[in-house]
C-alpha cells in the first residue's frame, strides 16, 4: 500500500471515574482486536457480541492487572461503525486506569472528548441530530430532556426533518415540472398552487421552530428568579424549593448579597433557581453590587417569583414590577405561617388580569399567579412546584409526548433559515418573479435542512457539536 493515513485506534474509560461497581474501557478502530490480543493474550476466540471473562495484563510488564469481561463488536455493527472492544472491569480509581493504560501501551491512543460518537457520525451510524441527542442523554438532568433525547436517538426529530425535506423535494418537483415539462399531459401547474404548497411547508417549519424556545430551556433549565424587597422571605422559599439549606436565612434585611443558583427538577422539567439580593436602594457597596446582579438575572429570567409577605398588601413598587416584567410573574405571599388566614388560603389564584396594569391580552403569557406559601410549614409549595412547569413548558405540555423538539441554537438557526427562505420563495412567486428566479430560495432551504441533519456540515459545525461531549463517548 502506498503511503496513506491509517485511522488510528482509540481507547477511553467510558464510565464515570471513581466509585462505581464496574468500569468500562472502550476501544475503537481498525486495530481494536490487535490491542485486545496484547492486553488479553490468553483470550480464546469468542463469537462477536458474546461476553467472555479474560485476564487483562500490562503488555509491558506482563503482570496481570485485572479480571474483566470482554465483548467484541466487529465493524460495521458497532457504536462507532469500526471494530469495537469493551473491557468491563472492577470500578474504583486505580483498576480502570491500569486497564486503560495497558490498552494505550498495547497500541491505542487516548480518545478525545466525543471522539467515539464523532466516528459513529462520520461512519454513517447516526446523523448529527442523533449525536446531539447522545449528549443530552448523558447530561440530561431532567426526565423531560431524557425522554426527548431517547426519542431523538430513535430518529424522532430526524424523521420530522426527513419529512420536511420530502415536502421540499415535492415542491422542487412541482417547479421542475412547471419549468422543464411545459408540454406534458396535465395542464400547466398554476403558480398559486405552488405558492400554496410552499405555505404548507412554511407552516410546518414554523411549528417546528416554535418548539426551539422551550427545547433550549429543556437543556439549559428555565431560569426562575426570586425577587422581592429585602427580608421578604426569598431565601426561605429558595431553600424550601430546593429541599436543602443553601441560602442563609436571617431576619436581617439584606442578608443575601450575591446571587445563588441551583438546578432543580420540578414535575420532571429542569429549572435553574436563583436567589437574589432584595431590591432596594442601599448605601452598602456590597449590597448594591448584589442588587445589580439581581437586576441582570431578572432581565434573563424565564419566570419571576415575586415574594411579598402575606401580612401586607402590595406596594406601588411591587405593582409596577409586576406590570413591567416581560415574563410571567408569580406573586408569592410568603411567611404564610405568620398569618393564619393566608395559610388557610394556600390555594392558587391565577389572576388573568395581571394585566390589569399592562393592558395585555390576558392570555397565558400574561399570567400572573398569586399564591400563599409557608416555607416553614410547606403549605402552598406543592402548588408552586406544579405551577412553574405549566408557566414555562406550556408548549411541551400541550403537544403530547411524541412531537419532536429543537433543543439547540444550532438547530433553531438552521430551521429559521429554511423558514425564511421558503417564505421568500412564496413571496417571490406571488410577486410575479419567474419560477426560475424563485427557485434560488429553495436551494438555500435545501442546504439549511441538510446542514440540520448533518448531510452537509462545515468542519466548524462538527467541532462545535462534538465539543460538548465528554471523553469516552
Amino acid at each position: 500500500m502506498v503511503s496513506g493515513v491509517e485511522v488510528d485506534t482509540i481507547a477511553a474509560l467510558s464510565t464515570a471515574p471513581g466509585v462505581s461497581a464496574i468500569a468500562v474501557v472502550r476501544i475503537s478502530g481498525p486495530r481494536a482486536a490487535a490491542v485486545l490480543a496484547r492486553v488479553a493474550p490468553g483470550l480464546e476466540p469468542v463469537p462477536p457480541r458474546e461476553a467472555c471473562v479474560a485476564a487483562i495484563i500490562d503488555p509491558v510488564t506482563n503482570e496481570t492487572i485485572e479480571q474483566a469481561v470482554v465483548t467484541q463488536y466487529p465493524a460495521p455493527a458497532s457504536y462507532t461503525g469500526e471494530d469495537v472492544v469493551e473491557i468491563s472491569g472492577h470500578g474504583g480509581w486505580l483498576g480502570p486506569a491500569l486497564v486503560l493504560d495497558a490498552c494505550l501501551a498495547g497500541g491505542a491512543r487516548l480518545a478525545e472528548a466525543g471522539e467515539f460518537t464523532r466516528r459513529a457520525y462520520l461512519n454513517g451510524r447516526m446523523d448529527l441530530l442523533q449525536a446531539e441527542a447522545v449528549v443530552d442523554l448523558i447530561e440530561g438532568r431532567s426526565q423531560a430532556l431524557r425522554r426527548m433525547a431517547l426519542r431523538q436517538l430513535d430518529r424522532g426529530l430526524s424523521e420530522r426533518v426527513a419529512a420536511l425535506r420530502a415536502s421540499l423535494l415535492g415542491l422542487e418537483a412541482l417547479l421542475v415540472h412547471h419549468i422543464d415539462f411545459p408540454e406534458e399531459d396535465d395542464a400547466p401547474i398554476p403558480v398559486t398552487h405552488i405558492a400554496e404548497r410552499a405555505d404548507e411547508l412554511s407552516n410546518s417549519l414554523a411549528a417546528l421552530l416554535e418548539t426551539a424556545a422551550e427545547g433550549e430551556l429543556l437543556r439549559e433549565g428555565a431560569l426562575v428568579v426570586l425577587a422581592g424587597r429585602p427580608n421578604s422571605g426569598k431565601s426561605s422559599l429558595y431553600n424550601a424549593l430546593l429541599g436543602q439549606e443553601r441560602a442563609i436565612v436571617t431576619e436581617v434585611p439584606g442578608t443575601t448579597r450575591d446571587a445563588l443558583e441551583a438546578a432543580v427538577s420540578l414535575g420532571g422539567f429542569p429549572f435553574r433557581l436563583v436567589d437574589t439580593a432584595g431590591l432596594r436602594e442601599t448605601d452598602d457597596r456590597v449590597e448594591r453590587m448584589g442588587v445589580n446582579v439581581a437586576r441582570r438575572y431578572l432581565a434573563a429570567a424565564d419566570v419571576v417569583l415575586l415574594c411579598v409577605e402575606g401580612t401586607r398588601t402590595l406596594g406601588t413598587d411591587e405593582r409596577d414590577f409586576v406590570r413591567d416584567t416581560g415574563v410571567p410573574v408569580v406573586v408569592v405571599r410568603t411567611k404564610a405561617d405568620l398569618d393564619v388566614t393566608a395559610v388557610h388560603s394556600g390555594r392558587l389564584e391565577i389572576a388573568r388580569d395581571r394585566a390589569l396594569a399592562t393592558g395585555g391580552t390576558g392570555g397565558p403569557e400574561d399570567a400572573c399567579a398569586t399564591l400563599s406559601v409557608s416555607a416553614l410549614a410547606g403549605d402552598g409549595l406543592g402548588e408552586l412546584r406544579a405551577l412553574l412547569p405549566r408557566l414555562v413548558y406550556r408548549g411541551l405540555l400541550g403537544t403530547g409526548a411524541d412531537s419532536p423538539v429543537l433543543t439547540r441554537a444550532r438547530q433553531a438557526r438552521a430551521v429559521g433559515r429554511a423558514l425564511s427562505e421558503v417564505r421568500s420563495f412564496a413571496a417571490a412567486l406571488r410577486k410575479g418573479a419567474g419560477p426560475e428566479i424563485a427557485a434560488a430560495h429553495l436551494r438555500v432551504t435545501e442546504s439549511a435542512l441538510e446542514e440540520l441533519v448533518g448531510v452537509i456540515t462545515g468542519e466548524e459545525v462538527l467541532d462545535r457539536v462534538f465539543a460538548e461531549f465528554c471523553i469516552g463517548k
Partner: protein, 641 residues
C-alpha cells in the same frame, strides 16, 4: 500498420449528430479529419422525432452554434415550425424548439460539412480499433480499409449491438430501422471499456392524407425569424403547423390488453429506458388513472404528407400499433407508414471518461453521444463538438477544453456524465444546472463565442460577426446605465405597466428594474441610438441582468466559490483505497470515478463535506510523503478533534 492505410489526425466513427459535430470541429481546428459511416446519405439523420431544441436542449443547440457548430445552421435552414417554449416564464428558461424537414436536414448538414476542406467523409463500416502502445492508433473497416489516426472519436449511437424490438419476439439485430447493427466494433470496444445496455424507442408514423384534421387541434408556430445560428444567416423555409390530439381511454384499453405482447413488458428487453420519454406502454402502466395523454402530430417535411406521432413510442407488435392508432381521435382511418419500435444498445458508463471525453484507460480514444448513455440529438451533438475539439487539441499538443458548469449546459452535461454516471438515458433539464439564470439561450454566444474565438474555431467573418454582436450588447447595457429618461417620456411606459408617474427623471436602469416595464418601449421613448428590433436578444439579456440583479449576483458568487474548489486539482494516480480517514463509501466512489478536481469530487453523490475536508489533508500528505521521507503521521483534525 500498412503503408497503404489512409492517414489522418482525427478519425470519427459515426455520422450522427455527435459524429458530425466532432468531425466538423476537428476539421475547423485544422486537423486532417476522416469521418467513417456506413451510409453517407444519412449523415446528420434524425432517427427519432424531426425536432431540434426544447427546454434546456434549445439552449444547448445555441451553445453548439456559439462554438461554431453545425446543428444551429442546419436547423435554421430546414425548420418548418418554430416555438419558444416557456415564453410565459422568465427568459432564463425559454426553450427554442424547431420542427425540421427530416429529408432536408441531412442535406443541409452535408452542405455545411462540405465547406470544410480538411474533412474527408468515407462510407465505411468501422469494425475495430487499431491499438498500439496502449493507445488507439487507428480504425479498421469492413471493406479492408485501415485509417491511421492520432485520435479516434467513437459516436456510434444506438448501433453497437443494437437490437430492435417490435412485440414479444426476440428482436432483430439492427442499428436503426433498416440499417445493420455494429457488432464487431462493439466487441473490440468491450475489450477496453466497461459496457452496459440501455433502450429507447420511437413511435409510428402515419400518412397525413388519411388523417381527419377537423378533429385535431391546430398549433401554428410562432411568426418571425428566430435563428439558432449567430454566425451564418440561413434562409428559413416555408412553415407548417403541428396538430394536437389525445390518447384516451380507448387506446389505453388496447395497450393494456396487449401488454404481454410488448417487448418492454414481455421481458424481452433488459436495458433501462428514459423515464422522461416513456413509451405508451409505460404511460399505461405507470399512470393508470390519467384519463388521457397528449399526442403531437408533427410534419415530417415539406415534401411528404407523413406525420410523426409524438407521444406514442412503443415496442408493441405492428398489428397492435395499427389497432391503437385507430383509437386516437382524428386517426380513426389513418394508415401507418412506419412502425414504432424499441431499440436496445450498448453504452459505456461515462464515469470511464475524462472531462475532455477521452477514455481514461485508452489514450487517444474519445466517446460522444448516445454511446455515453445520453438521449437526444442536442446532448449528442454537444458531446460531439467537445470531443472533436479535444481530440484535435490533443493531436496538436494544445491545452484541453473543459467547459465549466457555470459556463454552459455543455459543462453541466459532461460533468454530470463523468461525475455522477447514468442509470437511465440522460437528458438535460434546466433544473440540472445550478446556475440556471446564467445559462440562457440569449447569452450562449456571449458565454462561448470568446471561447470559440480563442480556440480558433471560427472563420474570420464569423469572428467579425461575434465582435459586432458583443459590442451591440455592451452598447445596450451602457445605454441603460448611463441614460436618464424624463418623467414625461417614461410616463406612458410606466403607466402601461401599472405604475404612477415619477416626479423626476430617472435612470433607465432604475426604471427597467420595475417588473412589467417593457424595456424595448423604454429604449424607444428614451431615444436609444440602437435599433430595438435587431437588438431584441441583447435587450432580453440586459433585462434579466438588471431585473434580477440580486439573484444573478448570488449565482455568480456561488459560481466563484465553486471555481475555488475547481482550482484544487486531484492528481490522477491517487491511492484512494488507502485514504482511511474517508468513509468507505467515499473511498470506493473516488477510486471508481477518479475526479480531477476537489469540486468534482464534491458533486459525487455520497461524498460528504467531511470527506472532502479529509481528502484535502490526505492529498497534501500524499504529496509530501512522496518528496520527503515519511515521518510519523498525525491524524487529520477531522478525526482527532
Amino acid at each position: 500498420m500498412s503503408d497503404r492505410a489512409l492517414r489522418c489526425d482525427v478519425a470519427v466513427i459515426g455520422g450522427g449528430h455527435a459524429g458530425v459535430e466532432a468531425a466538423a470541429a476537428s476539421a475547423r481546428l485544422g486537423c486532417d479529419t476522416i469521418l467513417l459511416t456506413p451510409d453517407l446519405s444519412r449523415v446528420g439523420q434524425m432517427s427519432c422525432n424531426p425536432a431540434i431544441g426544447g427546454v434546456a436542449k434549445g439552449i444547448v443547440a445555441r451553445e453548439i452554434d456559439a462554438l461554431g457548430g453545425v446543428m444551429g445552421r442546419a436547423t435554421d435552414a430546414t425548420r418548418i415550425h418554430f416555438r419558444m417554449l416557456n415564453r410565459s416564464k422568465g427568459p432564463a428558461v425559454w426553450g427554442p424548439r424547431a420542427q425540421c424537414d427530416r429529408a432536408l436536414y441531412p442535406i443541409a448538414v452535408r452542405r455545411i460539412l462540405d465547406e470544410l476542406s480538411d474533412l474527408h467523409l468515407v462510407q465505411e463500416t468501422a469494425t475495430a480499433l487499431v491499438m498500439g502502445d496502449g493507445r488507439v492508433v487507428g480504425v479498421r473497416g469492413r471493406s479492408g480499409l485501415t485509417v491511421q489516426a492520432a485520435a479516434v472519436v467513437v459516436t456510434a449511437g444506438t448501433f453497437l449491438r443494437g437490437r430492435i424490438h417490435m412485440g414479444g419476439e426476440a428482436g432483430v439485430e439492427a442499428g436503426r430501422a433498416g440499417e445493420a447493427a455494429s457488432v464487431e466494433l462493439a466487441h473490440t470496444l468491450a475489450e477496453c471499456l466497461e459496457v452496459s445496455r440501455f433502450k429507447t424507442g420511437t413511435p409510428p408514423r402515419v400518412d397525413g392524407r388519411t388523417v381527419d384534421f377537423t378533429r385535431l387541434e391546430r398549433q401554428d408556430g410562432e411568426p418571425g425569424d428566430y435563428r439558432f445560428s449567430t454566425y451564418v444567416c440561413e434562409s428559413i423555409p416555408e412553415q407548417r403547423p403541428c396538430w394536437i390530439t389525445w390518447a384516451g381511454a380507448e387506446l389505453k384499453k388496447v395497450v393494456r390488453r396487449n401488454l404481454e405482447r410488448s417487448a418492454l413488458y414481455g421481458g424481452e428487453i433488459s436495458g433501462r429506458g428514459p423515464r422522461y420519454c416513456p413509451s405508451i406502454e409505460d404511460k399505461v402502466v405507470r399512470f393508470p388513472n390519467a384519463p388521457r395523454h397528449q399526442v403531437f402530430l408533427e410534419p415530417e417535411g415539406l415534401g411528404t404528407s407523413e406525420l410523426y406521432v409524438n407521444g406514442l413510442s412503443t415496442s408493441l407488435p405492428g398489428d397492435v400499433q395499427v389497432e391503437f392508432i385507430r383509437a386516437v381521435p382524428g386517426l380513426e382511418d389513418a394508415r401507418i407508414t412506419r412502425m414504432g419500435y424499441a431499440i436496445e444498445y450498448d453504452y459505456f458508463p461515462p464515469h470511464q471518461l475524462r472531462h475532455t471525453l477521452e477514455a481514461r484507460r485508452v489514450a487517444g480514444l474519445f466517446l460522444a453521444g448516445q454511446v455515453n448513455g445520453t438521449t437526444g440529438y442536442e446532448e449528442a451533438a454537444g458531446q460531439g463538438i467537445v470531443a472533436g475539439i479535444n481530440a484535435a487539441l490533443t493531436v496538436q499538443g494544445r491545452e484541453a477544453l473543459v467547459i465549466r458548469r457555470d459556463q454552459a449546459y455543455l459543462g453541466v452535461l459532461i460533468d454530470d456524465l463523468v461525475t455522477r454516471g447514468v442509470d437511465e438515458p440522460y437528458r438535460l433539464f434546466t433544473s440540472r444546472a445550478e446556475f440556471r439564470l446564467l445559462l440562457r439561450q440569449d447569452n450562449a454566444v456571449r458565454r462561448l463565442g470568446p471561447v470559440a474565438r480563442s480556440l480558433n474555431l471560427l472563420t474570420s467573418s464569423q469572428n467579425r460577426i461575434l465582435a459586432a454582436r458583443l459590442q451591440r450588447e455592451d452598447d445596450v447595457i451602457e445605454w441603460f446605465h448611463n441614460t436618464t429618461v424624463s418623467a414625461q417620456r417614461a410616463g406612458p411606459v410606466l403607466e402601461s405597466a401599472g405604475y404612477t408617474l415619477p416626479s423626476n427623471s430617472m435612470r433607465a436602469v432604475d426604471l427597467a428594474r420595475r417588473p412589467g416595464v417593457d424595456l424595448a418601449e423604454l429604449a424607444r421613448v428614451g431615444g436609444a441610438p440602437f435599433d430595438v428590433e435587431t437588438n431584441a436578444e441583447a435587450l432580453a439579456a440586459v433585462e434579466i441582468e438588471i431585473r434580477y440583479q440580486g439573484y444573478v449576483r448570488r449565482e455568480r458568487e456561488r459560481a466563484e466559490r465553486l471555481q475555488a474548489q475547481e482550482g484544487f486539482e486531484l492528481p490522477s494516480g491517487l491511492p484512494y483505497e488507502s485514504f482511511k480517514s474517508l468513509s468507505t463509501e467515499a473511498r470506493q466512489k473516488l477510486a471508481r470515478i477518479r475526479p480531477s478536481t476537489l469540486g468534482q469530487a464534491g458533486r459525487i453523490p455520497g461524498i460528504s463535506p467531511s470527506d472532502l475536508q479529509n481528502l484535502v489533508l490526505e492529498v497534501r500528505r500524499h504529496a509530501r510523503g512522496r518528496s520527503e521521507p515519511r515521518a510519523e503521521v498525525a491524524m487529520p483534525p477531522a478525526v482527532q478533534a
